[in-house]
Amino acid sequence: MNRDESVILKVENLTKSFGGVMAVLNVSFDIRKGELLGIIGPNGSGKTTLVNLVTGFVKPDSGRVEYRGRNITGWAPYRIVGLGITRTFQMVKPFYQLPAFKNLVVPLSSPRVKRLAGGRYGDRDAVALDLLEEVGFERDSRVSYKSAASLPQGYLKRLELAKNMALRPDLLILDELFSGLSLAEVASIVPIIEKLRLQGKTIVMIEHRLKELFRIADRVMVLNYGEKIAEGASDQVMEDPAVKQAYLGSET
């Protein structure tokens, strides 16, 4: 078989309905190694369900997810993470009882991290503090030691990103990382994402902030009512009549 080696994630005809509502309908797409794919679409168009299907949090009704040639459809989330696919949650999910850096000790205790580190975990607290610095927690301030419950949204989003980075992923799926952030906060997170790309990570971004997304995305896919209606370079996609209609409403 002649398989395109650079495709790392292959999604075929993925379908999921919730009690009669088609959340995702026959969606197929490929992700190539090292690219940044943006997924956009109006509210309720099935973007987050798509993420849940790919990462194993929701089982598809039909369809197939293939990662590096391996069929991972319906796998448990922790096994998918073990392969190197990580995700952030749109509604951040920190451990509110714990200090920020202790939040990272949980992913740093995963079997994947142990395997990649050659069977040892090392000093998890120190690694956690380094990671937090990487995503913009100022080292000399006490913010890394504050409880997650007391952190503002901007820091929680960065913490969410750091939790993914702790797992040393190959493919990151960022579900509306920018939502609820100010322009300045978004501007400070963009360089972190660009740095991740330079490290060779493949990234999928679900976004509503189109301007920021288009600046960094290689390719954009548009969903509407659970179906893929367009795919291509960002400027092309926005010229597509189906996309215009989905975003601006019917012209009749």
């Binding site: 073990g82 451990f95 205790s109 995963s110 079997p111 939790k163 702790a166 797992l167």
Partner: protein, 333 residues
């Protein structure tokens, strides 16, 4: 010379939990004092009491152990209403080994602790995916089912139970044995929850999806916690069996399920010390109230309601908060 008030614990807590650098005897005593209370109280004070009250405190320790076993399950987000399952299984496990094979308590208790813990874990494994009230319902029903099973099939002595089991050498031995087990699980579990392993457990109760997305199999961890909790419960049952020289249907009684929950609510959940404090209030209290006859349950219930309404965080959390706010006068230079 000007003076001002300063919190005694200033810096002590942070330094002791992170870098273990204490600067003097006073700081060591500050940390040692609360930990010395249960040790001295249990091992020195209680053995001095009259035989009657010693016996009360043996059953108090039994309930305290069950409450701690309840608390470890709660730490992983598993709300159990069925500590009686663990107690009953441990009780029958040790009783059967002693009755049918003649094994001494030296063997039956460790075997019942591990074997009973495993058995209970296997029984609850299919429902481990259930959350909140659904898990609780199953744990509530299981001991009641087993109770009727024993009654209907007449296995393990049926309604008569297994009698004439090997007793402990002396009442004082029983007292020390259960109290040392209690202290070991109290400090052991508190230490465990402070490690990175404990952090994952806390994470599961806090937000299980987040732990899943961190590449960790939460059901594997929940099963481990279940085993730990069930083992402590089964140990308690095995101990009770040899104490009463009897294993029977009362081992699955609702008391063993309800009391640990009440103790944890009064004492404060999630600290292991809290549920223990709760048990040490509720069990002796119910003995005190024995003089009131039929009204006992009324007063007992009233006390519970007042406590839960007046101090919903639990006694231990309250005391801990006050202790950490303790102030002293210091000279201002």
């Amino acid at each position: 010379m000007r003076k001002r008030k300063e919190r005694i614990d200033r810096g002590v807590k942070a330094r002791s939990s992170d870098i273990y650098a204490l600067t003097g005897v006073r700081e060591m005593l500050y940390l040692l004092f609360p930990r010395a209370i249960p040790v001295v109280g249990l091992l020195v004070f209680i053995p001095l009491l009259s035989p009657y009250w010693r016996e009360v405190f043996i059953s108090t320790a039994v309930y305290a152990l069950l409450a701690i076993s309840w608390d470890i399950l709660v730490s992983a987000g598993l709300v159990s209403l069925g500590q009686a399952l663990f107690y009953g299984i441990g009780s029958y496990f040790a009783g059967a080994l002693n009755h049918y094979w003649g094994l001494s308590p030296l063997w039956t208790i460790p075997l019942a602790t591990v074997g009973g813990g495993l058995l209970c874990t296997l029984m609850l494994l299919p429902v481990l995916r259930l959350r909140g009230i659904y898990f609780s319902m199953v744990t509530l029903v299981l001991p009641l089912m087993l109770l009727r099973l024993v009654e209907a099939t007449r296995i393990l002595g049926g309604t008569e139970g297994l009698t004439g089991l090997t007793p402990f050498p002396s009442p004082l031995f029983s007292l020390y044995f259960v109290q040392i087990a209690l202290l070991a699980s109290l400090f052991g579990f508190r230490r465990l929850m402070g490690t990175d392993y404990g952090l994952i457990i806390k994470g599961i109760s806090d937000n299980d999806r987040s732990v899943m997305s961190a590449g960790i199999n939460i059901y594997w961890y929940k099963a481990q916690v279940l085993f730990l909790g069930a083992s402590v419960g089964a140990f308690t049952g095995a101990f009770g069996t040899h104490l009463d020289m009897f294993a029977g249907m009362p081992g699955f009684a609702l008391d063993y399920s309800i009391m640990p929950v009440a103790a944890a609510v009064v004492g404060g959940m999630g600290t292991f010390a809290g549920p223990m404090v709760g048990a040490f209030i509720l069990v002796p209290l119910s003995e005190f109230l024995r003089a009131l006859g039929a009204l006992r349950i009324v007063f007992y219930g009233l006390f519970l309601v007042i406590f839960v309404v007046g101090l919903p965080e639990g006694l231990f959390h309250y005391i801990q908060r006050k202790y950490e706010k303790f102030e002293r006068w210091v000279v201002v230079e």
